[in-house]
Structures are given as structure tokens and as C-alpha cells.
């Protein structure tokens, strides 16, 4: 037979199966396009040249990796799903006299055509759209917009290599499937006799335990430090729990409903419950996938949006005043040197400090057991008591009074006490390494820190009468050596020179005091740019990957609708024959379909609800303490997502009804 024959056959097959082939091709094209976008941004020389562009590019590199892995898994999975549906068709060819190698050849051309079309169209759209995406990124990062057009040949080559490999793998897998099966099996294809799913109690138990444990971790983890280390444990547990939930728990629950006679034998429940058992069985893994992808999208988008929107707040939280200068291991002499340089620099730029605050402190890390705070030294390894670690700063009363403009008095052994958690600490006496301090007053506000609901680390401040005590405490811990000098102020003058002035201050101070003390100059203007780049980049990545995952979700839903439709057609006919009206059948089926497709969404929302406390603590690590903002971002994201999900559902449901009727 001539070569052209197989090629024509392949094209014809694709045309005939357009209901399944088109969405697959679209997904391939989109994946190629998105891969090109990401790769293009990673390799864009224009971005690399911009200040802190490397930050952004390392975020994009991460994004490229995610897209690579995702495309590989997802396209491979989709292809094998399509192959399963086509078994009957291929079995027919086999019986009509085509050998397996002939079928293989037809499949080869099919893969070749889909691969070529996806790559050509995907790269074309990618190159065309890359400028737009680049401009969007620059806007998000508040970079100045640059004109010019750039085509990344390297990205094109990489995309071709990656997706070429994916298509080759899919082809090999298809061949394997054909060679494994005999014609009769191929003919029978999808509809092998249906057995009722068994209740797998072990999986039910494992699922409930995993889910419960994951939720428990998410809700009860108090310290943000612990939140980091437990986050992935919780994610894995909840993922495992989700699979078990869909595979086993749902079946068990439905069977229980079936045993409840007075509920089960009702017109509206009868067909729904028994139908759901089968539907769930066939779709459990797909639904769990949808659920996990949705949860991923929601988490990613809501947190990155929240960080992006709240970036000014983050900066304000991180830097209470315009300039924040901290010197460790310093003494009065070296601090004087710093102040001289400071005065000189500010004068050069025509700036004057206002609202200046200065205080000295001794800072120690402690293990807070409630009764006692044990001061830690550098040799201690408190990893397992992560949540009990706290920071304590001792501040002389003199500095406190000067900053606050008050004139308080304290007796020896007495202290003013401030804790940074939202709730009042309530301790009347503190025992720090055996030394007891009576709390004269627990303060509600403190000039160095604000109270927040979940601080990164519990911080306590003790204002004591005597500088001697501060010096003595400073010597007990070898983590923060010596007295810490803190000075902060706002600037008055031309705001456009703040950034340069701060940079110069940082450089000259560090130069002058090298080896003498460690000085950190934190300026809002100095750091604003890097915050903007990082959070803008993350936001972009969140939206981008969110879109990718959403596309995957849409495709899975579409294919589920299709296969549901083919399965239901027969059931639909029988029900009509035994005396259900068309309307009744339609209502019963649409309610089942609705349940099946909205179950993952509802479960995803539940996951998000339980993840909220944990995410809140993780955001606190990034200096975002505004829980309300996060709640609003999360709700808005869920709202938008539910809307898009609904639209996807409605569109795909039309295909379903077209098949069934």
C-alpha cells in the first residue's frame, strides 16, 4: 500500500474523532505556547539587564520547570485516555485485515500531524504573544516599558525538544497498547462488564486519617516556623486523603445511603444514589485530580495576589520607618562613628531625619516553656522545640523614656513587659535563666514592634531600670554578641533622592565599620524595588500557572462529560422504556452530573478553608499580617474560580446532552 494511504487514513481518523481530538490539540498548542512564554522570559536578555531582573528570572525558571513537568504528565495522561476510547475503532481495523504494524503506521502519522500542528501553531502564537506577556510582566513589576521585539531561538529549540519527546513517548505508549491487546479485546474496548465497586474499608480509614491529620496540622500549627516545615507534610497528607476520599469514602457513603431504605426508595434519590456509585467509581481518580488541581490553583493565585496587593503593607511592616539602622556587636564609640557618617550623608543629599528614635538593647533567644525562659547559646540545637523558641530584648528605661517622651520609673528587679502576640500574655513574673523580673506593667503598644495575630516568632521586650543589667544579659548569649544599637527615623526632603541616599549610607557605613561591628541599614526606598520585583514575579507566575492548571481542569472535565455521555446513552433509553418521562430522566441525570462535577469544587473549597490558618502563618513569615486582606483575596479567587468552573461546566454539558439525546 502506498505511503499516502496511511497519511490520508490518519487525517481522516482525526477528522472523525474531532470531538476528542480538537480539545487535545488545543491543549497541546496552549502548552507549547505557555512553555515558550516562560522559557522566553527566563532567557530574555532585556529582563536580565534590568535591576533585580535576575530575581524575576529565577522565579520564571521555576515556572518553566513546573510547566515542563506538568506538560509531560498531563499530555501523556490525556493521550492514553484518548487511546482507550479508540480501542474499538482500532479493533475494527484489525479485524478488517489491517495488521498491527499498519495500524501503528497510521498512528505514527496521526502523532506526527498532531505534533507538527501543535508545535507550529503553539510556537507561532507564542512568538506573537510573547511581547504582550512581556509587557504585562513589566507592568506588574513596575518596570519601565521597553520597545523592541525579541525571538528566543533557544526557547524554540527547547520547546521542540521537550514536546517532540512528549509526542514520541505518547506514540510509543500507543504502540504498546495495541501490541498488548488482541482484536477481540480491542473490539470490546471500553465496555467491559460493569461490576459494582466494592467498599474498601482500609482505604476509607486511611483516607479519613490522612485528611484528618492534614487538616489538624493546618489548623493547629501555631508558629510560622513550624508551618514551613509541616506545610509539605500537610499537602501530601491532604492529597493522599483526597484520592482516598474520592475512591473509597464516597462509595462507602453512597452504599450507606442505599442501605437506608426509606431514603433510598424515593423517586428523586433512587436512580441518583445507585447511578452515583458507578459514576464515582469510573471517575474517582479524574475527580480527585480535578480537586487537587483546583486546590492548587486557588492556593497559588490567592496567596500571590495577596502578596502583590499587600506589598506596601509588607514594606511598612518590615521597615517601621523610612530608615532603620541596626548595629550589632557595636559599642558607644563605634556607634558614634556611624552617626557621624549618617549626618554627613544626609546633609550631602539635603535630607533631615525626623521622628528619630534610638535605643540600645540586649537580645537573646530563649526556649520558653511557660514557667521559665532558658537562654539559648549557639551550641544548643532546639530543632524539635521550634515552636517554643522566642526572642527577648532587654531595653534600658532611659532609652524607652526618651523614645516615648515619657518619664516612667522602675524599681530594681521590675520591668515593663511587651509581647508581640495579639492576645495579652498575662505573666506577672518572668524567670529568665533563673533571674526573676517582676512585671510592673504589660504594655499594649511598643515603639519597636506591633502586635500581630501570628508573629513569625514570639518576641518579648523587657524594659529594665538599669543599663548594667542589659550589658550583663548581653554577655550571657553568644548568638547576638554585645549590645544592639537601633536607630530609626523618617526623612524629610526630596523623596526622589531617598533611594540613592540610603544606598550611599549603607555602603559608607559598612565600609567604615568593617570588622568593628555588623551594621544593617534597612531603607524603605532602598528595598521597595526588590519587593516589587519579587512579589510581582510571584504574582505573574501564580496567574500564569493558575491559567495552565485551569486549562487542564477544563480539559479533564470535558473528557469526563464525553465519556459519561457515551455511558449514559443506553441507560437513558432503558429508563424511558420502563416508564420514566424524558423530563424525569433528564432531571435525574443532570442532578447526578451536577453532583459529580461540583464535588471536586466543593472539596477544593473545603481544603482551602482548612489551609487558611496555615497559609496565614506562612504569609506572616513574609511580613504580611493582614488576615483580612488574605481572606478577601481568597474569597475573590474562589468566587472567580467557581464562576469559570461553572462556565466550563455549562459549555461541556452541552456536548454531553448532544450525545445523550
Amino acid at each position: 500500500m502506498s505511503r499516502g494511504f496511511y497519511f490520508r487514513l490518519a487525517l481522516q481518523n482525526m477528522k472523525k474523532n474531532k470531538r476528542t481530538v480538537w480539545p487535545y490539540l488545543c491543549t497541546c498548542v496552549c502548552s507549547v505556547m505557555m512553555y515558550y512564554f516562560m522559557s522566553f522570559l527566563t532567557l530574555n536578555p532585556g529582563l536580565a539587564k534590568m535591576p533585580s531582573g535576575h530575581n524575576v528570572q529565577s522565579i520564571m525558571t521555576m515556572g518553566t520547570a513546573v510547566i515542563t513537568i506538568f506538560s509531560l504528565i498531563f499530555l501523556f495522561y490525556t493521550n492514553s485516555f484518548l487511546m482507550k476510547r479508540r480501542k474499538k475503532e482500532l479493533g475494527l481495523y484489525n479485524i478488517l485485515g489491517m495488521e498491527k504494524r499498519h495500524i501503528g503506521r497510521a498512528l505514527f502519522y496521526e502523532t506526527l500531524v498532531s505534533g507538527a500542528v501543535s508545535l507550529a501553531l503553539g510556537l507561532f502564537l507564542g512568538i506573537l504573544g510573547s511581547k504582550l506577556v512581556f509587557l504585562l510582566l513589566l507592568k506588574l513589576l513596575s518596570f519601565p516599558v521597553k520597545l523592541g521585539f525579541f525571538v528566543s531561538v533557544k526557547s524554540i529549540v527547547r520547546a521542540m525538544a521537550l514536546f517532540g519527546a512528549i509526542f514520541l513517548l505518547s506514540y510509543l505508549n500507543n504502540l504498546r497498547q495495541i501490541h498488548m491487546a488482541n482484536p477481540a479485546e480491542l473490539l470490546r474496548g471500553g465496555n467491559v462488564g460493569e461490576k459494582e465497586p466494592k467498599t474498601r474499608w482500609l482505604l476509607v480509614l486511611v483516607g479519613l486519617l490522612c485528611l484528618g491529620a492534614g487538616y489538624w496540622i493546618a489548623v493547629t500549627t501555631e508558629s510560622p516556623m513550624e508551618a514551613i516545615s509541616y506545610f509539605f507534610v500537610a499537602v501530601v497528607l491532604v492529597m493522599a486523603g483526597t484520592y482516598c476520599l474520592f475512591v473509597a469514602v464516597s462509595v462507602a457513603a453512597l452504599k450507606m445511603l442505599r442501605r437506608w431504605k426509606s431514603f433510598y426508595y424515593k423517586t428523586s434519590h433512587f436512580t441518583a444514589v445507585s447511578g452515583m456509585i458507578y459514576r464515582i467509581k469510573q471517575n474517582a481518580v479524574g475527580l480527585a485530580n480535578i480537586c487537587i488541581l483546583s486546590t492548587g490553583v486557588l492556593l497559588m493565585v490567592s496567596t500571590t495576589i495577596c502578596l502583590y496587593v499587600g506589598r506596601e503593607e509588607i514594606i511598612a511592616g518590615r521597615y517601621p520607618q523610612e530608615v532603620n539602622l541596626t548595629a550589632y556587636r557595636a559599642d558607644d564609640e563605634s556607634f558614634q562613628k556611624i552617626e557621624e557618617i549618617e549626618a554627613q550623608t544626609l546633609e550631602e543629599w539635603g535630607l533631615t531625619p525626623i521622628n528619630s528614635m534610638f535605643c540600645r538593647s540586649a537580645q537573646v533567644a530563649v526556649l520558653d516553656t511557660g514557667d521559665e525562659m532558658k537562654i539559648l547559646s549557639g551550641d544548643d540545637n532546639p530543632a524539635k522545640d521550634m515552636g517554643k523558641i522566642a526572642g527577648v530584648a532587654f531595653i534600658p528605661l532611659k532609652d524607652y523614656n526618651a523614645c516615648m517622651g515619657e518619664d516612667r520609673k522602675l524599681k530594681p528587679g521590675e520591668a515593663l513587659f511587651f509581647a508581640n502576640q495579639k492576645k495579652k500574655d498575662g505573666r506577672k513574673e518572668l524567670n529568665i535563666d533563673g533571674e526573676r523580673w517582676a512585671v510592673a506593667e504589660e504594655l499594649d503598644d511598643f515603639f519597636l514592634e506591633k502586635k500581630v495575630s501570628s508573629p513569625q516568632i514570639n518576641g518579648y521586650y523587657l524594659v529594665v531600670d538599669d543599663m548594667e543589667a542589659v550589658v550583663r544579659i548581653a554577655k550571657t548569649s553568644n548568638i547576638f554578641e554585645g549590645i544592639c544599637y537601633q536607630k530609626s527615623y523618617n526623612l524629610s526632603g526630596d523623596p526622589t533622592v531617598f533611594e540613592e541616599a540610603e544606598r550611599q549610607l549603607e555602603e559608607s557605613v559598612n565600609q567604615a565599620l568593617e570588622g568593628e561591628a555588623y551594621v544593617h541599614v534597612g531603607g524603605r526606598e532602598l528595598n521597595r524595588e526588590s519587593f516589587y520585583r519579587t512579589y510581582g514575579g510571584l504574582f505573574f507566575l501564580g496567574i500564569f500557572l493558575g491559567a495552565l492548571f485551569l486549562m487542564a481542569t477544563a480539559l479533564i472535565i470535558y473528557y469526563k462529560q464525553l465519556s459519561e455521555g457515551y455511558e449514559d446513552r443506553r441507560r437513558f433509553e432503558i429508563m424511558q422504556k420502563v416508564g420514566m418521562s424524558k423530563r424525569e430522566v433528564r432531571r435525574s441525570i443532570s442532578s447526578q452530573i451536577l453532583m459529580v462535577f461540583f464535588l471536586p469544587l466543593v472539596t477544593a473549597m473545603m481544603h482551602i478553608g482548612f489551609a487558611f490558618p496555615l497559609m496565614k502563618r506562612l504569609l506572616a513569615l513574609l511580613y504580611l499580617y493582614n488576615v483580612r486582606l488574605f481572606a478577601v483575596c481568597t474569597l475573590a479567587t474562589i468566587g472567580c474560580f467557581a464562576l469559570v468552573y461553572g462556565v466550563i461546566y455549562a459549555l461541556t454539558a452541552r456536548t454531553y446532552y448532544r450525545i445523550v439525546n
Binding site: 461490576k195 459494582e196 426508595y265 424515593k266 458507578y278 420502563v578 416508564g579 420514566m580 424524558k582
Partner: protein, 255 residues
């Protein structure tokens, strides 16, 4: 008393663009009395299935009318049709048409559940029928676990459970082996003896020979009918065979 009156039914199918017209039924009239067991025979394409669909109110005749228990089917509103069918007609199909998502018992309950009956009522209605059809042991099995004969008896139970005026059977023995077919026909006979009216469409001489009357359809018309009138099954079998031979060789109409 006639339970079913079929008056001058004609059914014409038009191809999609109104081109060729195909006449499936030309002019069919007959009556079925209460408690009768009627078999309708005819070759493929003789219009049997069309007739059955019209009797089942799944299809509408082009002309003529069907009167079930004094009520014309064409008078029933589209919305009430499903409920009417559920209540007054029982169906037995060649390929059983059991739902694989239900066990046998729930399959039988389906029409009653749709009618909104309570579980206790259904259970009490099921018991005598299940006993008569000898399916008590398989009530909790699923269709894929049951044999063809069992499945068909379950389908008969489903047709009977709502106490219909008329049971319509479409080639009920078509997918069964001869033993299962024999069992099923015996069951039909027993049911009929208890007063149930049955109308069966069939190809099988064996099946038809168990009925109390046989109608022959050819070219969309009732061509001939045979009454049992005290004959044995074997005698009836012979007469049906003869009639079919005449039909096949294109003999003219004779009474």
C-alpha cells in the same frame, strides 16, 4: 370485554427531506379481550415492531387510533404519557433492558419507586411475583451475575409489579436458549391463567404456539389469525408452521 381496540391504524414514515414515503402499516385492526394471550407473528419488516411501538404509546400512528380500556391513547397528554404507560402497561424486551446499576430487586422496584410507593408496599407486592417467577434467590444479585433466563424473568417481574392492564412483550425469547425460553413461556402461560392479558410479538413458532390466539401480519396488514380453540400446543405448532409457509411462498389471502 375488549381491553384493547386497534382501529384502522396506518403508519407512514417519510424520509428526512420528505422524499420517499415508506408505509410500515397499511391498515391494521384487531381487538384483544380481557385475559387473552395474543401472539403477533410476521417476518422482519412486516411492521411488527412499529405496531408494538404504537401500542406502547412510544410512537404515534399516522391514522387510526388505539383504545386501551376505553381510553384513546392519542387523547393522553404528552406530560402524563410516561405515568400512564408506567401504570397501565408492562414491557418485556428481547434484550431484558435491566439497568446494570441496580440489583435485580431494585430493577423490579423501579416502576413502583417512580410511582412513589413506600418500601413496605413494594416488598409485599414483590413477594408473590418473585415466588411465581422463581427469582427469589437472585433478588440481591446484580444483572451481570444472573443468567439470561433469570434476567428475563426479572424483567417480567418488573412488567407485572405495577399490575398493568396489558403486558407487551417484544421477542421475549429472542435472546434465550431453548430451555430458558421454555421456562419463560411456561411462566407466561401461568401468568395468563391468573387473568393477565398478554400481547407478544415474536418470530418463534415455539413461542407463538403457546398463545391462545395468533395474528399474522404481512405487508402492514393483519393477514390471518388462528384461535387455539381447544387444540394442543403441538397441533397449534403445525398450523402456525403451515401458515408461515403459505405466507413465505406468497400465497393469496385465505380465511
Amino acid at each position: 370485554m375488549s381491553i384493547l381496540e386497534v382501529e384502522h391504524i396506518q403508519k407512514v414514515y417519510a424520509t428526512r427531506f420528505g422524499g420517499n414515503q415508506v408505509q410500515a402499516l397499511t391498515d391494521v385492526s384487531f381487538r384483544v379481550e380481557q385475559g387473552e394471550y395474543v401472539a403477533i407473528m410476521g417476518e422482519s419488516g412486516s411492521g411488527k415492531t412499529t405496531l408494538l411501538n404504537i401500542l406502547a404509546a412510544l410512537d404515534k400512528p399516522t391514522r387510526g387510533q388505539v383504545i386501551l380500556n376505553g381510553k384513546s391513547l392519542s387523547m393522553i397528554k404528552e406530560k402524563e404519557l410516561a405515568a400512564y404507560r408506567r401504570k397501565n402497561l408492562g414491557f418485556v424486551f428481547q434484550d431484558f433492558n435491566l439497568l446494570d446499576t441496580f440489583n435485580i430487586q431494585d430493577n423490579i422496584f423501579l416502576p413502583l419507586v417512580l410511582a412513589g410507593e413506600s418500601y413496605e408496599t413494594m416488598k409485599s407486592k414483590l413477594h408473590p411475583i418473585a415466588q411465581q417467577l422463581r427469582i427469589e434467590e437472585i433478588l440481591h444479585k446484580f444483572p451481570y451475575e444472573a443468567s439470561g433466563g433469570q434476567k428475563q424473568r426479572a424483567a417480567v417481574a418488573r412488567a407485572l409489579i405495577s399490575g398493568p392492564q396489558l403486558v407487551l412483550a417484544d421477542e421475549p425469547t429472542g435472546a434465550l436458549d431453548s430451555r430458558a425460553a421454555g421456562d419463560l413461556l411456561t411462566a407466561f402461560q401461568e401468568i395468563n391463567e391468573k387473568g393477565q392479558t398478554i400481547l407478544m410479538v415474536t418470530h418463534s413458532v415455539m413461542a407463538a404456539s403457546r398463545a391462545s390466539r395468533i395474528l399474522f401480519i404481512k405487508d402492514g396488514q393483519v393477514f390471518h389469525q388462528i384461535y387455539r380453540g381447544g387444540k394442543t400446543d403441538e397441533e397449534l405448532y403445525g398450523m402456525i408452521s403451515d401458515t408461515l409457509r403459505v405466507l413465505a411462498t406468497g400465497g393469496d389471502r385465505y380465511e
